[in-house]
């Protein structure tokens, strides 16, 4: 209850263990075992292990990890679609784990919506009725909810498809319906569980652009799940990487690429073009004795690639500054090296 301003979602020590004697596993030393050993010993699956993080209002927070790392389970625990085994969750200051069924419904109806990997559309309803479903279960009268649904359909670019049925739409359009349905009740938080994994690459790119646009226009807090690193980098302000149910590293794209916490993360980010993610801060060095210090000054957070024009124009090394203080210098050779993917 403490931090209702400044935190949209707050998760502390969340556990989800599937299986018969889940709560007994939790207190015991078994909980520390790795998943395969735990399964062999107790038959339980620890899908989420001691996860903590918080999401700021209006942030796009990405959770990523390989298949089976517990991402879906985590996101479903947030609104208790799956009952967590232990831990605290608060959304906009409300303690989710302690909420009564009615409060929980209220939360799902008005404040948190979800978009699913396999869309979860209702095949027996027209598109407009799919979008209006959330309002319908709230008891909004038909005319009002249809009006709202049509507005949202326009927002996601599905004008003129209101009367169609889900099975007449392409995959990309179906997921737009899924998005529209989640947006219809105007929630504060959107949870997106691999919303674009089932789409082909071109459509996926369109949809990602769409999410970026929507985020700009409606400014929702988003928790976005993906196993695609490029997607994570494109959308996420902060990224949490999960392995075997636990978060192994949480930070900005730059932090993950620049300083991976372990082999797993390093492996994950190996193919990322560093010059497009890292800023000058990561490659600047203290000036050598004979170097000129009259080159152009750039802020330390400048992405390396964006420093290329300045480096081309000036013979002198670029000065990297932060708060009017000189952090170091970067010359053409440093920039070329990082563009070529060398370094560290």
């Amino acid at each position: 209850m403490a931090s209702s301003d400044g935190v949209a979602i707050e998760v502390r020590g969340l556990w989800k263990i599937f299986g018969h004697r889940a709560d007994r596993v939790l207190g015991s030393p078994d909980a520390a075992l790795d998943p395969a050993a735990l399964r062999a010993r107790t038959g339980c699956v620890a899908a989420v292990r001691d996860v903590s993080f918080s999401v700021r209002p209006g942030e796009v927070f990405v959770v990523m990890g390989l298949s089976g790392s517990g991402k879906s389970t985590l996101v479903r625990c947030l609104t208790r679609l799956i009952e967590p085994t232990a831990g605290e969750i608060s959304i906009a200051g409300e303690d989710v784990c302690a909420a009564s069924p009615a409060r929980l419904r209220d939360l799902r109806r008005h404040r948190v919506s979800m978009v699913f990997q396999h869309f979860g559309l209702l095949p027996h309803r027209k598109v407009v009725d799919n979008v209006a479903y959330g309002l319908e279960v709230q008891g909004v009268p038909r005319a009002r909810r249809h009006e709202r649904a049509r507005e949202i359909l326009t927002l996601v670019g599905l004008d003129g498809h209101a009367e169609a049925r889900p099975d007449q739409l392409s995959g990309g359009m179906r997921q737009r319906v899924g998005l529209a349905r989640a947006l219809a009740a105007d929630p504060d938080v959107l949870l997106l569980d691999e919303p674009f994994s089932a789409l082909d690459p071109l459509i996926r790119r369109d949809m990602q652009a769409e999410v970026v646009r929507l985020h700009r226009e409606v400014g929702k807090t988003m928790l976005f799940i993906t196993h695609d690193l490029a997607e994570a980098l494109k959308l996420g302000e902060r990224i949490a990487i999960m392995r075997a149910g636990a978060i192994v590293q949480l930070g900005t794209a730059e932090e993950l690429v620049g300083a991976p916490a372990d082999e797993y993360v390093a492996d994950f980010v190996r193919d990322v073009p560093r010059s497009e993610v890292l800023s000058l801060r990561w490659i600047c060095r203290s000036p050598g004795g004979d170097e000129r210090l009259d080159g152009p000054a750039l802020p330390a957070r400048t992405i390396i690639r964006d420093a290329v024009p300045a480096a081309l124009e000036s013979d002198a090394p670029i000065r990297v500054v932060e708060d009017d203080e000189l952090l170091g210098v970067v010359d053409r050779r440093d920039i070329l090296a990082s563009l070529a993917g060398a370094g560290s």
């Binding site: 919506s113 027996h124 479903y133 959330g134």
Partner: protein, 668 residues
């Protein structure tokens, strides 16, 4: 020629103990063995021991039948007590009698409503309903169907049967659908219900009747309750399946938007399960239709009484019109419900359809008002006489053939087997059943099977159980032989399959006793009649399962066998049949339970055994106890046979799911 795929061992080299199922079927595949005994050594030794025991102990420890056995008297006393206390005991005063009144009243209401519009009116309404659900074709089918009831001279009886069916179906659905929905959402309830429904589905129709009489006396009320109980399993099962199958992601999406459980049920699960629930309704109606006929034994009104009378008097001409009427009713109700169920979910009937349907119904009712309520006598077709003449002619002119077939089966199969079974000590029969069930299903099914078998002894019905078992075994053997041949033929020749399919489809929608008709016409009232009827009754599903099983054998296996030079015949015996073993076992299971149901009904046409006990229990008050016990014994026998052949079901994949689908068409 060499093979690259190794998996299905080419037949020539099939070593003993190699792939399970490649030997055993013919018993000859496993040639000389090097390591241990060949697969068939143990069964062979077991058989030898059994034969030796039979020779040594024949005639001892048999349990001959006694019409006045103590258990029968016990039931008779119970009935006497019930009759004496019907209006005194609180159980009856406050529960049973109310149920009886309520169900009876419901039947009266249905009967009244159906009779009010007159024959033209009801036909018009049926046609309108058909048009509404399925368009012109179904509308026409319904009109012709209902018209034919009158033409057959059975309008009144058909209306009574329809009212009884509707009463029973309404009650079944009122109880079955909610229970099914609940079971679909609660795995715990599903686990709880599964064994109960399993047993209900292998219970022969006759077993339901005697307890009904005990509680509700005879008449429409107890007939409706018996029919309801009989037809409720598919309502529960298929509805549960329908709800369970609704895409989990749609349900989750609904929950994630804050829908209550009730909202999710009403707005997501029920609409998405609609087509399958339609199938549940359809199956419930079909089951009810066949039970309603049997229920004539406890004085159900309607077409059944003609059929039962015809059967007991071996009078084909008497029962043929009623049989035709029942089949027509089954077809009409089947088409209407199926087309209502399979209509695409978002498609609502167009406005013209509503108008035409309304016009038909209103027009029919108006016509019904204008015309006399009775179906005009001069339009009635009477063909009992000619039919009986034709039957007599057929009997006479084919006598040589039919008599030879009948005598051959009776002398060569039935009599020897029966004397073996009834002449063996009870412990020997039980030991053999135990061994067989253990081998096919494992220890638990074996224990259940033997338990059921042994329980028939204290019921005082051991001997009659053995007689019925004899008939069932012979019928099953014939069914399996014929079913295998037809199934193999269909799997090998698409053209043959194309001819056979529609016949099988039609056969599977017909109520059970319809099959007694040709049997009775050809063979008169004998034990063989029941066998013949059960063979033709049980063949369609057997053929189907065998055909599908053989056809679904992995093409890779077939290709591998072909590539090492198998002939067609080798391919069939060494690859296709062994690999289709599971389907064939399932076919045996289906065939055996259906056969039992029919053999018991065959008690009406001279099959003897338990079926006859049940029938005489209804015709003579002093035999009521025996009939009651015989009903219980048929159930025990059914469970026993089911357990013995259940290996195919239980050992594989998801129990329940395939039983659900393969059993839904069972109508007995």
């Amino acid at each position: 020629m060499t093979t690259s795929q190794a998996s299905p061992a080419p037949p020539a080299q099939a070593a003993p103990g190699a792939p399970p199922g490649s030997a055993g079927s013919a018993g000859s595949a496993g040639s000389a063995s090097s390591a241990g005994l060949p697969r068939w050594a143990l069964p062979l030794a077991g058989a030898a021991v059994a034969v030796a025991a039979y020779v040594a102990f024949r005639g001892t420890a048999t349990l001959p039948h006694d019409d006045d056995a103590a258990p029968f008297q016990l039931v008779n006393d119970l009935r006497a007590w019930v009759d004496a206390n019907r209006n005194r005991s609180p159980l009856f005063l406050f529960f049973v009698n109310y149920v009886r009144l309520f169900v009876g009243g419901l039947y009266d209401v249905f009967h009244l409503v159906l009779s009010l519009p007159g024959w033209a009116g009801l036909t018009g309404v049926a046609a309108g309903l058909g048009w509404l659900t399925g368009g012109r074709r179904i509308g026409l089918t319904a009109a012709l169907g209902f018209g034919s009831f009158g033409v057959l001279g059975l309008w009144e009886a058909s209306v009574a049967t329809l009212a009884l069916v509707l009463t029973a179906v309404l009650l079944s659905l009122l109880i079955g659908l909610p229970l099914g929905v609940w079971a679909g959402r609660s795995p715990r309830l599903r686990r709880l219900l599964a064994p109960v429904l399993d047993v209900m589905q292998i219970m022969p129709t006759f077993a339901y009747l005697a307890p009904m009489v005990l509680f509700f006396q005879i008449g429409p009320a107890s007939a409706a309750v018996a029919t309801m109980i009989y037809s409720i399993p598919p309502a529960i099962r298929i509805t549960a399946l329908a709800i369970e199958q609704v895409s989990a992601s749609a349900v989750e999406a609904s929950t994630s938007l804050g829908a209550t459980r009730w909202q999710t049920l009403r707005k997501v699960q029920l609409p998405m399960a609609r087509a399958t629930i339609g199938l549940a309704v359809n199956q419930t109606i079909m089951m009810a239709l066949s039970m309603v006929v049997i229920a004539a034994l406890i004085a159900a009104p309607g077409l059944g009484s003609d059929i039962i009378r015809g059967l007991t008097r071996a009078n084909v001409g008497l029962m043929l019109p009623a049989g035709v009427a029942i089949v027509v009713m089954a077809v009409v109700l089947d088409r209407i419900t199926m087309s209502a169920a399979t209509r695409a979910p978002y498609e609502t009937a167009g406005r013209t359809r509503w108008i035409v349907a309304g016009a038909l119904a209103v027009g029919g009712v108006a016509l019904g008002r204008a015309l006399p309520a009775e179906f005009p006598q001069e339009w009635v077709l009477r063909f009992a006489g000619p039919v009986n003449e034709a039957v007599a002619w057929a009997k006479f002119s084919w006598y040589g053939f039919t008599d030879a077939v009948r005598n051959l089966t009776t002398e060569a199969l039935l009599n020897p087997l029966q004397s073996v079974l009834t002449g063996s000590p009870w412990w020997l029969v039980s030991a053999v059943v135990l061994a067989v069930a253990w081998r096919t299903g494992g220890p638990r099914p074996a224990a259940v099977a033997v338990g059921c078998l042994l329980a028939t002894a204290p019921l005082g019905l051991w001997q009659h159980t053995m007689e019925t078992l004899t008939t069932v075994l012979v019928a099953v053997a014939l069914t399996l032989i014929a079913g295998l041949l037809l199934g193999i033929a269909a799997a090998r020749s698409p053209r043959f399959a194309a001819v056979q399919r529609p016949l099988l489809d039609a056969a599977q929608t017909m109520p059970a006793f319809v099959y007694l008709l040709p049997a009775l016409a050809l063979f008169g009232a004998t034990r063989f009649t029941a066998i013949f009827a059960s063979v033709i009754y049980a063949i369609p599903p057997v053929v189907r399962l065998v055909e599908d099983g053989i056809r679904n054998v992995s093409p890779a296996a077939v290709e591998a066998a072909l590539s090492c030079g198998s002939t067609d015949r080798q391919l069939l015996w060494k690859v296709r049949l062994p690999l289709a073993r599971r389907a064939i076992l399932l076919a045996a299971n289906q065939g055996i339970v259906m056969t039992l149901a029919m053999v018991v009904v065959g008690g009406l046409v001279g099959a003897g055994g338990l079926g006859y006990d049940v029938v005489s229990g209804f015709s003579q008050r002093s035999d009521f106890g025996m009939g009651f016990a015989a009903g219980v014994a048929t159930v025990l026998l059914g469970i026993m046979l089911d357990r013995i052949t259940q290996g195919a079901d239980e050992r594989n994949s998801t129990p329940g799911s395939n039983r659900m689908t393969t059993r839904k068409k069972r109508i007995a």
